[in-house]
């Protein structure tokens, strides 16, 4: 038997004892049945009863039991039913011959039935292992972290050996238990020390028999090359030597697949990170050129206008002088806005502290409109905020910035003669504030991206529409307040854009508190 090498003599003895017990038991039953039947059937018929006993024993208990029961049946038949009875002597030469045939038939039948039984058992075990491996493959193919892969490895290995399994990671001097199956299994100092020893010596560690120093677990490296810092501990059911070759093979395959999967994951993570870094780099350079343009253009206009006034102030007409002064004023405001936006973005990125207090949404909108009116004099901003809106616990300054950015966009992207509408209404447990313009609307392809940092509708070489920070800032602020912002274009009236801000009513938790 293939498994003989892996079992020592005591296991073999146990198996032999169990087989003998089964043989004795079955044959005893056969003897009792035979004594009952003797009144009606011949000795030949009784010998068939013994054959049946051998077949039953072999098919239940395997090859060894088959042979043993065949011998026992032969002896019992001789002892109880062949004249002279109650001795092993045989009077009749013919009986001797048929008894010989019986022994041969019983032995052949027993061994065949036993082999069949053993093959069936090992086939079903192999099927179990294959199922185990295929489950494992399915699990690791969707795993998104090394931890998931190793947890799956531990669980499947535990199932393969039909006993507890644990995984240790080398974590500085002391190994840490990373996964265990069953999950509630106790890992004590003994196991950790053994794992530490394995890492320190760099050799796997065999389990010891109960009562001996050491532990019930055996320790193996998962993969010395691909996962040199992981050791798996296995305690097969039935003791330290009970791992079957199938289980052994399954565990090896599991470890191999797990380390391959972990390696693959590491590579794809590295690729992902490289891509993210490249994306980040691109974003950074977009920011730089965009900020450079947005800050330098107003600066250039201011410096140019001021130096022109100083150098030629006397020689240029008064109207032209006023034009230059107006340009200086406008550009200074523009510059201040850009700087404020950049500072806001920086603040938002480094984690924002909300200063929340009770405020009326109508007042916040009013202050944003008033601020817009300064930079867009003559523009009509129509406010339709429902009077019955409940007060909102929010950061009024930041929320004002949100509406200012929305109003500024609305004004920028619609004809200067068209009004910009601001509506506010209460919903079940939130309120909705819409900023509606009558401009050309947002191109359908752009809608998903308008809240991205540095997205700007006309992000041509000039980036004329600004750094594309306004909506990103608005989105971030509203998000901090537990609300949401979205764009609908064309709006309800079929033209223009509706920017819809939803804010929860009642005490709003800052997401930062988490």
């Amino acid at each position: 038997m293939g498994m003989a090498e892996t079992r020592n003599w005591s296991d073999q003895l146990t198996a032999l004892l169990r087989a003998s017990g089964a043989a004795v038991l079955t044959v005893t039953v056969a003897v009792l049945v035979g004594i009952e039947l003797e009144k009606w059937v011949s000795t030949r018929g009784i010998s068939l009863v013994f054959i049946m006993a051998v077949v039953i024993c072999a098919s239940r208990m395997g090859f060894a039991a088959g042979i043993l029961s065949a011998v026992a049946a032969f002896l019992s038949l001789n002892f109880f039913f062949i004249e002279p009875r109650h001795t092993f002597a045989i009077a009749d030469q013919k009986e001797l011959f048929s008894l010989g045939i019986f022994l041969a038939v019983a032995a052949i039948t027993g061994s065949l039935a036993g082999r069949l039984r053993e093959e069936a058992v090992s086939a079903s075990r192999r099927a179990d292992m294959l199922q185990l491996l295929s489950d494992f493959s399915a699990r690791i193919s969707t795993a998104e972290s090394e931890g998931e892969i190793l947890a799956a490895l531990t669980e499947q290995a535990s199932k393969a050996i039909d006993g507890p399994a644990a995984l240790f990671r080398q974590d500085g001097e002391v190994p840490a238990a990373e996964a265990a199956f069953p999950a509630d299994m106790a890992i004590d100092l003994n196991e950790l020390q053994s794992a530490e020893l394995v890492f320190r010596k760099g050799h796997p560690l065999a389990a010891t028999a109960p009562g001996w120093a050491g532990g019930r677990f055996e320790y193996r490296f998962v993969d010395r090359e691909r996962l040199p810092d992981r050791v798996i501990a296995l305690a097969p059911k039935g003791g330290h030597t009970a791992m079957t070759p199938d289980a052994e093979q399954a565990v090896l395959t599991l470890m191999d697949q797990a380390s391959l999967a972990a390696e693959r994951l590491r590579f794809s993570k590295a690729t992902e990170m490289a891509q993210a870094a490249a994306q980040e780099e691109k974003l950074r350079s977009t920011l730089l050129s965009s900020v450079s343009h947005d800050l330098r253009t107003p600066l250039a206009a201011i410096l140019g206008s001021v130096t022109t006034l100083r150098q030629f102030g006397g020689t240029i007409p008064v109207a032209a002088q006023n034009e230059l002064l107006a340009a200086i004023e406008d550009e200074t405001r523009r510059l201040a806005r850009q700087v404020a936006n950049l500072l806001d973005m920086t603040k938002l990125q480094s984690g924002l502290k909300l200063r929340k207090e009770w405020a009326e949404i109508g007042e916040i909108v009013q202050s944003s409109v008033a601020a817009m009116q300064v930079s867009a004099p003559g523009r009509v901003f129509e406010q339709r905020i429902a009077a019955a809106l409940p007060p909102l616990k929010c950061d009024a300054v930041l929320l004002g910035q949100v509406f200012y950015n929305l109003l500024e966009n609305a004004a920028k992207f619609s004809p200067s003669t068209s009004p910009v509408l601001i509506c506010g209404a209460a919903l079940a447990d939130s309120m909705e504030i819409k900023v509606i313009d009558q401009g050309a609307g947002i191109h359908a392809d752009d809608v998903p991206f308008i809240f991205d940092k540095f997205f700007s509708r006309a992000l041509g070489p000039a980036g004329k529409e600004g750094a594309g920070l306004g909506l990103a800032i608005a989105k971030a602020i509203v998000g901090e307040m537990g609300g949401d912002i979205r764009a609908v274009s064309p709006g309800g009236s079929g033209i223009g854009t509706e920017m819809i801000v939803t804010l929860p009513i009642g005490e709003v938790q800052s997401t930062e508190a988490q």
Binding site: S289, S292, H293, R296, T297, P298, L299, A300, A301, I302, L303, G304, S305, T307, T308, Q311, F312, T315, I316, A320, E323, L324, A327, D330, E331, A458, G460, P461, A462, G463, K464
Partner: protein, 230 residues
Amino acid sequence: MSKLLRILIVDDEPQIQRFLRLGLEAAGYDTLLANDGAEGLRQSAAMNPDLVILDLGLPDMDGKQVLARLRQWSSVPVLVLSARDDEHEKIETLDLGANDYIAKPFGIGEFLARIRAALRTERSEPGETSHYQIGGLSIDVAQHQIELAGEPVKLTPKEFELLLYLTQNRGRVLTHRQLLAKVWGPAHGADKQYLRVFIGQLRQKLEADASNPSVILTEPGVGYRIAPDV
């Protein structure tokens, strides 16, 4: 008085257009405006300006593209306005045929000085003039003689050639590549080290304080120019 020189401003920022226009007109130039690259090219062809001011950031196309197209048929002096710090871009525009660049933000005085320099080099064809005067430095092209404050200065032929080329383009930046190609030949376009050594020698001989030059100015990362007004 002769006809006013006509300058085309290609820029999409109204505030920039405004002070450029007012400043240039106050300085005695006639101005034309174009809001984008296509309009700029059209006006360059139709109005035949004496100089083009070109912003690199335009709504319809890259300023460099405008420059490249313009250079296919026109040698009008081009002064590039750049809002960018990028040395590569400056070199690229100069190699594409821009006569000079000025980085935003800038004062109108500096800007007008660049305009004058670009117009001057355009109108005085190299080789026509046989004598140059830069502050106390006088250059006699025909005699290959240099005098500094009346005292003769000895220059090697390469040094003389380098100084002459810079002087002929006085006030205008010349890239390392342009200088190397002119003085050492096109094969030496990348040997910046030569240039650094020769500029150093020229400064030792010509500058009052070689470590703080006032005649041969460095444009970091781009090239050199002779100070427009010494």
